[in-house]
């Protein structure tokens, strides 16, 4: 039983981190219908900024983490202002191509820094002894990751439901023209969507970097790893990202725990999420919580 519980706990931990990483995709898609393929690079950038502020500048880790959220918030806003604002109204495929270009540009910039080709590790700032719940263990890093994820996701849910800007963002997502007609500034909403996505990416980067160490390949690959989560949850649903993240985390852990190494199976934890994703999409093409748009022609 403890084996099962350990897999559940690990699945939830990994799933929460997936959810946080997927949140950036959702925030941008929700307001602008754009899939940002450079999200993995932004996750990595957030992590590197936290490290640089903490280790090179000497700012305490928690403050460095918060500062990295702020810096990435404005960086992402700048990216939107510089590259994407002028594409408002252009075909979505053009905007997606720009995000591919952005991915290459960010890759190039990161390769110019030591983070491109060197490995780093955050100094230990949390106890290394795990928290034990009976036979089930969870590390402090994982626990802090789950708490930060819960706070951010809770915060964003509240933001979208209760604040004027949040409601404006939802209005833009629903119908840009109608939103504009009631005085909502669509460009500002887009900028804010990118900025908040940058903030969540930096948070995810900080958490993942603490778990895996700072390796550019590992960090930017998260952007691709979480893509099935985004699709499964429904591209525009925060709740969907959370539920799908946890489903994916649990599937991976159970596949690794019960299937791999048995009956000649191997690496099912890598494949199974995609198989389940396909099955669910056959039944629910818009994902678990995605908006089902009806177009009348």
């Amino acid at each position: 039983m403890s084996y099962f519980l350990q897999l559940v706990v690990s699945g939830i931990v990994v799933g929460s981190i997936y959810a946080l990483s997927a949140l950036g995709f959702v925030l941008i898609y929700k307001s602008s219908r754009v899939i940002n393929l450079a999200h993995g690079q932004i996750i990595a950038s957030g992590c590197f900024i936290t490290y640089a502020l903490n280790v090179w500048v000497g700012i305490p880790i928690y403050l460095a983490f918060v500062l990295s959220l702020i810096i990435t918030f404005f960086l992402a806003m700048g990216v939107e202002r510089l590259f994407l604002r002028r594409l408002i109204g252009e075909p979505i495929i053009s905007v997606i191509m720009v995000t591919i270009g952005l991915m290459s540009i960010l890759d190039g910039i990161i390769y110019l820094t030591p983070f491109g080709a060197e490995n780093f590790s955050f100094p230990e700032f949390l106890p290394t002894t795990p928290i034990m719940m009976g036979d089930v263990s969870i590390s402090w890093t994982q626990l802090v990751g789950v708490i930060i994820t819960a706070l951010l996701i809770g915060g964003f849910s509240w933001f979208f439901k209760k604040t004027t800007i949040g409601i404006a963002k939802r209005a833009v997502a629903d119908d840009q023209l109608a939103a504009m007609s009631i005085g909502v500034s669509v460009p500002k909403v887009f900028g804010l969507a990118w900025a908040t996505a940058g903030l969540t990416a930096a948070a995810a980067g900080g958490i993942i970097g603490n778990i895996t160490g700072l390796n550019f390949d590992t960090l930017h690959a998260v952007g691709i790893t979480v893509f099935p989560v985004v699709i499964l949850g429904g591209l525009d649903s925060i709740l969907g990202a959370v539920v799908a993240g946890i489903i994916m985390g649990l599937i991976q852990q159970f596949a690794g725990g019960y299937l791999d190494g048995n009956w000649g199976l191997n690496s099912t934890a890598e494949v199974l999420p995609y198989i389940i994703l396909l099955i669910i999409l056959l039944i629910k093409p818009h994902g678990l919580f995605g908006t089902h748009e009806i177009e009348r022609v």
Binding site: Y3, Q6, L7, S10, V13, V14, I17, D107, Y111, G116, A117, E118, N119, F120, S121, E124, T128, P130, S137, S139, Q142, I208, I211, T212, G213, L214, N215, F216, D217, T218, A221, V222, T225, Q252, Q253, F254, A255, G256, G257, D260, G261, N266, S267, A269, E270
Partner: protein, 408 residues
């Protein structure tokens, strides 16, 4: 009459020119070498120090006049770990007139194997995949293959393990690079190597290895052999520490001892895994700068001379690059000493003659480089290292794999 006079003048002039040319000392030559590798993209954390090692040793050879007045011109190009780019780089190098080629990844070495054969160009890759040598005559591995390293590691385990047949799992990279030595280890077991391979795990982009570690633990796995890059090993070691399944000393009962071969270890592993890397066992054929050896001293002096930072200076992949360049320079030096022209064919012959009394002893390896027409794996000797107080320290004396010879 006039015509005869003209011919005579031309003849005298030509003779004079030839005589003068014979009296002139031979003009200094420049020998071109190409290196294509991942300076950006996947595995660039290994590629960058490797390229600096190659670059610095060739600079050193020129500065110290190891080839007299002749110079080496090593062209280095980034391929971002993409085989198609490597092929393009290689073709550009051929156009530039290279006589020796340095390659990098397993995928591109396998992919360009036929090109090396067609061009008859001696090639030294950074990949130690044994399959590079199948149906190939021109590829020379700098050190013993991944298979040889892994089987050597397994032999060490059988020697040191107490109790019944040791249960082993393999933790490998999901690629040709990772899968390379799996079959060879299985062959060694069939040949009598006393280990039980319980499971071969191809890792993914894992943020958590709990399921895998718990599963291996429940199957009674005692040793985990790693053959991948540092980052996934570091994540696994951290999880093993958290789950309290990592042995605190070799072969600790009820726990798992983690071991790895060349590309799993080095200072980057310690940087990524921190405390969790303690008691990780690692084998390679290179000397380390954490040990007081001539090789380490020379490496650090060279890094200082060419302005490398501490991280590069102490990287085992910097050592790796230096060593490959050393082999290239030595082959050219020997060819030149015999009065032969520096061309692919002569370099190939000279590399194949590097054995017995003519073995090459680079200071940065734990054994000599020996090549012949039937043996194109350079250094056969291995050294085991273990992380102690955050530093890799050698443990025991050097060794070679007996079973690897048996299965070849």
């Amino acid at each position: 009459m006039k015509t005869n006079k003209k011919v005579l003048i031309c003849y005298i002039a030509a003779s004079f020119i030839l005589f003068a040319a014979a009296l002139q000392p031979a003009a200094a030559q420049t020998y071109k070498i190409g290196l294509s590798l991942a300076i950006t993209g996947p595995t660039s954390d290994a590629g960058v120090p490797y390229s600096k090692g190659v670059e610095d040793y060739f600079k050193y050879a020129n500065d110290m006049k190891l080839l007299g007045d002749d110079k080496l011109d090593c062209m280095i190009k980034d391929d971002a770990y993409k085989t198609d780019v490597t092929k393009r780089n290689f073709e550009e190098f051929l156009d530039q007139g290279i006589e020796l080629y340095l390659n990098y990844s397993t995928g591109s070495t396998l992919g360009l194997k036929k090109d090396f054969e067609e061009e008859k160009i001696p090639t030294l890759p950074a990949s130690f995949h044994a399959g590079n040598l199948d149906d190939s005559n021109y590829i020379f591995l700098p050190i013993v293959s991944y298979s040889g390293q892994l089987i050597g590691l397994a032999e060490y385990v059988t020697k040191m393990h107490q109790g019944e047949t040791p249960k082993v799992a393999m933790f490998i990279h999901p690629s040709a690079f990772g899968r390379g030595p799996v079959e060879d280890l299985k062959k060694a077991v069939e040949a009598g190597l006393n280990i039980e391979i319980v499971e071969v795990v191809e890792h993914g982009k894992d943020l958590d290895n709990t399921a895998m570690l718990k599963r291996l633990s429940s199957k009674g796995v005692q040793y985990v052999f790693c053959h991948t890059v540092q980052s996934p090993v570091a994540t696994m070691l951290k999880d093993a520490q958290r789950l309290d399944v990592a042995a605190s000393k070799f072969g600790e009962n009820g726990k798992m001892t983690f071991l790895g071969i060349h590309y799993t270890g080095g200072n980057d592993l310690i940087a990524l895994a921190g405390d969790a890397s303690e008691n990780f066992f690692w084998t390679t054929s290179y000397t380390l700068t954490s040990e007081d050896t001539d090789g380490a001293r020379i490496q650090l002096e060279m890094a200082k001379k060419y302005g490398r930072d501490d991280k590069i200076a102490n990287s085992h992949n910097y050592t790796n690059g230096i060593m490959v360049a050393q082999i290239a320079v030595e082959a050219i030096r020997r060819t030149k000493a015999k009065g032969k022209k520096i061309v692919r064919e002569n370099l190939y012959e000279e590399l194949n003659a590097m054995n017995g009394m003519n073995a090459f002893y680079p200071v940065t390896t734990v054994g000599p480089v020996t090549y012949s027409k039937t043996d194109r794996q350079g250094v056969d000797t291995l050294q085991l290292y273990k992380v102690k107080n955050g530093v890799f320290r050698s443990t025991g004396s050097t060794f070679t794999s007996e079973y690897y010879k048996k299965i070849q």
